[in-house]
């Protein structure tokens, strides 16, 4: 058994005394791809932010590769992160290469300019994602799928061992969604990454990950796919209907409020 990338013990997070995450216990092994599923407001993004060190737990402990994520960050062990809305200002005047270079700023350090080696590394990440030809294009002029690749390249530019993706496919059409899932799987294997991916797209995630965590304030299930209907219903708190389509490579899941 490979060592644990993430260990979470009795973790609680509250906002204004209202618990968002309750008594989370979770071990994620190195070099696996884990999907976190759950309804809106289940605390999925909060869990990611705790792992990133952006939010300190109210109680309990979290270790990322054996250390507190904030300490890890301060020691230069950065986590690759794709936020849910990575382009908060859609007309920000920078090009794709600038965005990827940003991932290296923490490593380059204060008061220093990016050097040629930083530039080369950023270009190599764009190359890996098949969008090197877009390096000089303004980020605002790229399509949603292209932008998503640029932001994944930026996440890789911090040289992470752990990649955290928050709803990586939410603004993409179905074809681009599958591309992103395949891409993440390839990156995981090539770069020996541990990947945590949040989604509420049950069908798509189930077919692309090694392990699934069903989260709704607490961890309801943690097991490899396929996840049974009962487990999903206990997570989502409502009846869930699976619709599998034989030859079509997409699964559609309908959630019904009874």
């Amino acid at each position: 058994m490979s060592p644990a990338a993430i260990q979470i013990r009795h973790l609680w997070v509250s906002y204004n005394h209202q618990p968002v995450l309750e008594d989370i216990n979770l071990d994620i092994e190195e070099n696996t791809c884990v999907g976190v599923l759950g309804p809106n407001g289940a605390g999925k993004s909060t869990l990611l932010k705790v792992i990133l060190g952006l939010i300190a737990p109210t109680r309990g402990e979290i270790l990322v590769f054996g250390e507190n994520p904030r300490q890890g960050r301060n020691r230069g062990n950065f986590i690759g992160y794709l936020p849910q809305r990575p382009l908060s200002n859609p007309h920000f005047p920078v090009n794709a290469l600038d965005v990827v270079l940003m991932g290296r700023y923490g490593r380059i350090g204060l008061g220093r300019r990016p050097k040629k080696e930083d530039r080369d590394a950023a270009l190599a990440h764009l190359e890996r994602l098949g969008i090197r030809h877009l390096a000089d294009r303004p980020i605002s002029e790229l399509s949603g799928g292209e932008q998503q690749r640029v932001f994944i390249a930026r996440a890789l530019a911090v040289n992470p061992h752990l990649l955290v993706l928050d709803e990586p496919t939410i603004s993409l059409d179905t074809c681009s969604q599958d591309e992103v899932y395949d891409l993440v799987k390839r990156l995981k294997d090539e770069l020996h990454l541990t990947v945590i991916m949040v989604s509420h797209d049950i069908g798509a995630v189930a077919s692309h990950v090694d392990d699934i965590v069903c989260l709704n304030r607490r961890v309801h299930v943690h097991s490899p796919p396929p996840i049974g209907r009962l487990a999903l219903e206990s997570t989502f708190g409502c009846a869930v209907e699976y619709l599998f389509h034989g030859e079509i490579p997409h699964r559609v899941v309908r959630v019904r409020d009874d």
């Binding site: 992160y81 990575p86 005047p93 920078v94 940003m102 700023y105 380059i108 204060l110």
Partner: protein, 268 residues
């Protein structure tokens, strides 16, 4: 008008004006990209409280103004970090309180002969050699700091959360930027006064945003717009005998409308 150039006070006004507008041009880019346009209004109007306190206590109004605006700038940041307020609400509260304090201080000091009007609307032509020295010193500090932390300031404007995750000291830089902003705003009060100084922090960046597609170009255009408008404004005010600060702001406003119109031009 040419002979004005040989006058000491006009030379000083030009030198101080160019340096201050250069600083404003640089910071304006970040003010626009970080959507902080309103903070210029907040900090500059708060300075009024500090300036009035200086009159009351017999201190140098410049330094009491800087101290006061720094405190208000940090309070705004703190209120937003700790409370549930959006930044614009925090600014609205603090600058109104600071200005109200200023009015009370002023009435307590009973010195109506001081140049309150100069602080409110700017009086660059009255700048003495000592103030030119101050302006040059502040310019060196601000430009040096921005050069040193340029890439981090861009990243912060782009996405603060991501900047933190990538190892950038976000909180320290956010406060640092506010300190720079407060310093520049107070110095620029010489040029256009408390009421109008926020124009110098918003319009150059907005003009540049209209005319450029990349941040490096935006920086140069913003600086050029600010410096050119200041020079044109100063000469125009001399020729027309208009108030200098207001003329500079009017020229900037004209530049903005032209840049906006150029976007409607076919072929862009």
């Amino acid at each position: 008008m040419i002979e004005a150039l040989s006058l000491g006070f006009f030379q000083r006004a030009l030198l101080a004006g160019v340096m201050l507008s250069l600083l404003c041009g640089v910071l304006s880019v970040f003010v626009i990209l970080r959507r902080m346009a309103f903070i210029g209004v907040g900090i500059s109007h708060s300075a009024f409280g500090g300036v009035a306190l200086g009159f009351l206590l017999g201190l140098d109004p410049l330094w009491s103004g800087i101290g006061f605006s720094l405190v208000v700038a940090l309070l705004i940041e703190w209120a937003q970090e700790r409370g549930r307020l959006e930044q614009d609400a925090a600014i609205g509260i603090f600058f109104a309180v600071a200005m109200a304090l200023g009015v009370v201080f002023l009435s307590l000091s009973r010195t109506y002969n001081v140049d309150v009007f100069g602080f409110l609307f700017g009086n660059i032509l009255a700048v003495g050699p000592y103030q030119v020295g101050e302006t040059l010193a502040v310019s060196a500090v601000v430009l040096g700091t921005v050069t040193l932390f340029y890439k981090e300031l861009v990243f912060l404007s782009f996405d603060e959360e991501m900047a933190w995750v990538s190892g950038v000291p976000v909180r320290a830089l956010r406060y640092l930027f506010l300190v720079l902003l407060a310093l520049v705003i107070i110095m620029a009060i010489y040029l256009v006064g408390i009421i109008l100084v926020s124009a110098l922090l918003v319009i150059p960046g907005a003009v540049a945003r209209n005319l450029t597609r990349h941040i490096s170009g935006m920086l140069w255009v913003s600086v050029a717009a600010a410096v050119a408008a200041t020079l044109a404004g100063l000469f125009l005010s001399l020729a027309l005998d208009w108030p200098s600060g207001a003329t500079v702001v009017l020229v900037l406003g004209l530049a903005f409308f032209l840049s906006q119109a150029s976007r409607l031009w076919p072929g862009r």
